[in-house]
């Protein structure tokens, strides 16, 4: 009789312990799964495009060295730099230099690939990509207008 009572008490204690254990596990699981939103990356991409537009390129016109924004417009107009180089070639090399130095792409990096695109209206003026294009990506864009023409720059970073 005494044995049975002791056994019942032990079972009760075990049940309570299991219930408390399960509650603790649920609480821990909830805390661990709570994801932190990452807003930095989106902001960084947009600040990158915005700052790049003001970058002074090596291409010179009659007024002096042109900014990347002006170089995009020159490329659209198929103009050449004072040194005879095509403005589109200058734009391509300058943009690649900017993107490759700003974002490290590779297997060791968190960024597995990127795609940069410049659109004039609906038409793509310049597009280049590197690395793997995965389903997980973040993007940013910046647009400006000149002489009634809309220009949109976008950058996708794949992770």
């Amino acid at each position: 009789m005494m044995n049975k009572k002791g056994q019942e008490e032990m079972v009760g204690f075990a049940v309570i312990s299991i219930i408390i254990g399960v509650i603790i596990l649920v609480v821990i699981g909830f805390m661990v799964n709570k994801k932190d939103t990452n807003l930095t990356a989106d902001y960084e991409i947009e600040s990158f495009i915005q700052s790049s537009l003001q970058y002074t390129s090596e291409c010179q016109d009659s007024l002096g060295f042109v900014s990347l924004q002006e170089l995009i417009i020159s490329c659209r107009r198929e103009e050449t730099c004072l040194d005879g180089k095509s403005s589109c070639d200058a734009l391509n090399s300058t943009l690649k230099g900017l993107v490759e130095n700003a974002w490290t792409v590779g297997d060791q990096s968190s960024i597995k690939g990127y795609e940069f695109d410049i659109k004039t209206g609906e038409q793509s003026t310049l597009n280049f990509k590197k690395g793997n294009q995965t389903a997980n990506y973040i993007s940013g864009f910046q647009s400006f207008a000149r002489n009634g023409q809309d220009y949109t720059l976008s950058l996708n970073l794949y992770s």
């Binding site: 312990s17 408390i20 603790i24 609480v27 821990i28 805390m31 932190d36 807003l39 930095t40 902001y43 960084e44 600040s47 990158f48 915005q50 700052s51 790049s52 003001q54 970058y55 002074t56 002096g64 060295f65 900014s67 230099g97 900017l98 130095n101 700003a102």
Partner: protein, 195 residues
């Protein structure tokens, strides 16, 4: 519940009844002991669970404080480039967003002692991204041919850096006269780790 008969002591029953009384007393003491142990065990369990939750909540609070400091750095870095101490304003044409006047910040570095607590951060740094000039630290002697300008550099434990891209502009001279030279850089900020 089984009702127990109250025990009455009769001297003629002495040796036998006294023994039985002792056994019953012992049983009661054992039961009281058992209950005390159980209460102590349950109390210990609750204390342990309480301590566990307390440590979790303290840990969470610490993480929240760190995350808040990091978010503050992020917000500050976003607006610092446009503050009067850093921004290009109209020195390089029309008002440019996210533009830092390189000439202005190198002068700021010389007088940083006056501003050490102004922004409430431990480190403010500008790293050139393109053209890449490596990790050459900027001084009055090698300016502007350098890659890293440490404006504020307190010797304390820091949190992770918050950064944003900026345009770093300065006045340059060529055969045709002065012109604006703008490069791509990263503005980095880090707060002190107070945890």
């Amino acid at each position: 519940m089984v009702a127990t008969k109250p025990y009455r002591f009769f001297p003629h029953e002495f040796p036998f009844k006294f023994e039985s009384c002792l056994i019953k007393n012992r049983k009661g003491q054992l039961k009281i002991q058992q209950m005390i142990f159980m209460i102590i065990a349950v109390l210990l369990l609750f204390i342990m669970v309480g301590l566990f939750f307390l440590s979790i909540s303290l840990n969470k609070m610490q993480k929240e404080a760190t995350s808040l400091a990091e978010k503050n750095s992020m917000l500050l870095v976003a607006k610092l480039a446009n503050s009067p101490e850093f921004s290009c304003e109209n020195a390089f044409g029309s008002n440019k967003p996210n533009c830092i006047d390189f000439d202005k910040v190198i002068a700021l570095k010389r007088n940083i002692a006056k501003y050490s607590d102004f922004w409430g951060v431990a480190k403010i740094e500008i790293r050139k991204v393109y053209p890449n000039e490596g990790n050459i630290s900027c001084t009055d002697k090698n300016y502007p041919d350098c890659g890293d300008l440490k404006i504020l550099d307190k010797n304390v434990e820091i949190l992770s850096y918050a950064s944003t891209f900026v345009t770093l502009c300065r006045k340059e001279f060529s055969e045709t006269g002065p012109y604006n030279k703008c490069e791509l850089a990263r503005l980095l900020i880090s707060s002190q780790d107070k945890t």
